[in-house]
């Protein structure tokens, strides 16, 4: 790779955008799990996914960001919206929205949160498990390198997994058609 292609000046205002996008994602996530109307939840989830795509861009993952927007926000969420339209929203909106498992939910969240805090604050010989310093800014040909990992015969570590993924999608398509058929 050409060393001159690596940008030497870091992007400006990265912390500001990180905190902005993180706030958008957290608020979107809270809206997803609290809205009565499933369409509103879907809209909040789309906002969260788009903010996450922007975070991918900040992490120098443009290909994953594009896949996130096209496949997640564009494909999967449209599927969700279709199904929400198929089932009757008006009646489900008047029903009770939460089951009586608040205690279990809070307990599980507290346990998992405690686990996360314990892992992320663990120090071995004065250092946390994950370094706190700034991330490097070298970029490379991201999409080509991902394609190399996926398809290249010489360096394609994930070629077999890629084929299995296509098989998984085929099975999922057949499964979805069979499930949604009127008479099986």
């Amino acid at each position: 790779m050409n060393p001159a292609a690596i940008p030497t000046n870091p992007p400006v205002a990265t912390p500001f955008f990180f905190y902005l996008l993180a706030t958008v994602m957290i608020i979107g996530g809270i809206l997803v799990i609290t809205r009565k109307n499933a369409v509103h939840s879907a809209m909040a989830l789309i906002t969260t996914l788009l903010a996450q795509a922007a975070l991918y861009l900040m992490l120098y993952a443009p290909f994953v960001a594009g896949v996130q927007i096209i496949l997640y926000a564009g494909g999967i969420m449209v599927l969700f919206l279709f199904v929400i339209m198929l089932i009757s929203i008006e009646r489900t909106e008047k029903e009770r929205q939460f089951n009586k498992q608040w205690l279990v939910g809070i307990a599980a969240a507290a346990a998992l949160g405690g686990l996360f805090i314990a892992v992320y604050t663990t120090t071995t010989s004065g250092r946390t498990l994950f370094p706190e310093g700034k991330l490097s800014y070298a970029e490379g040909e991201n999409t080509q390198r991902i394609a190399g990992l996926l398809f290249d015969r010489a360096t394609g570590t994930y070629m077999f997994a890629f084929e299995i993924a296509s098989l998984l999608l085929l099975v999922a398509i057949i499964g979805a058609v069979v499930m949604a058929k009127k008479r099986i």
């Binding site: 990180f18 939840s41 996450q52 992320y120 991330l135």
Partner: protein
């Protein structure tokens, strides 16, 4: 002061953990199956964020060719698409039979 403002891998991990917890709470407490599935998408996205952040960290050590985390994120997006298709297919079949989308009324296999 400036070093504190820098965004490290840990920032992304904490954000991913927060999203994961929101998804867990949504799965455990909501009754609407569609919103439960959306909460599962939140969980998968939290994992994806962690993977891409680790990929960034890994690139800082091993050079820009170390993109295994991003490849894993793409595989997880594939999984999410398959899961959404099958899950929503099951939901449509269930709604046709029982005229409801509430998880706690799904008791056909209970005895």
């Amino acid at each position: 002061m400036h070093a504190m403002l820098d965004i490290s891998t840990l920032h992304y991990l904490v954000l991913g953990a927060a999203l994961f917890l929101l998804g867990v709470i949504g799965v455990l407490t909501r009754r609407n199956v569609v919103i439960v599935l959306m909460s599962i998408e939140l969980i998968l996205n939290a994992v994806n964020l962690n993977l891409v952040a680790f990929s960034r960290y890994w690139q800082g050590i091993h050079g820009t060719g170390a993109l295994h985390g991003q490849v894993f994120a793409i595989f997880i997006i594939t999984d999410a698409a398959a899961e959404a298709a099958v899950g929503l297919g099951i939901l449509i079949a269930f709604f046709r039979n029982k005229e409801t989308v509430n998880v706690d009324e799904v008791n056909l296999l209970k005895w």
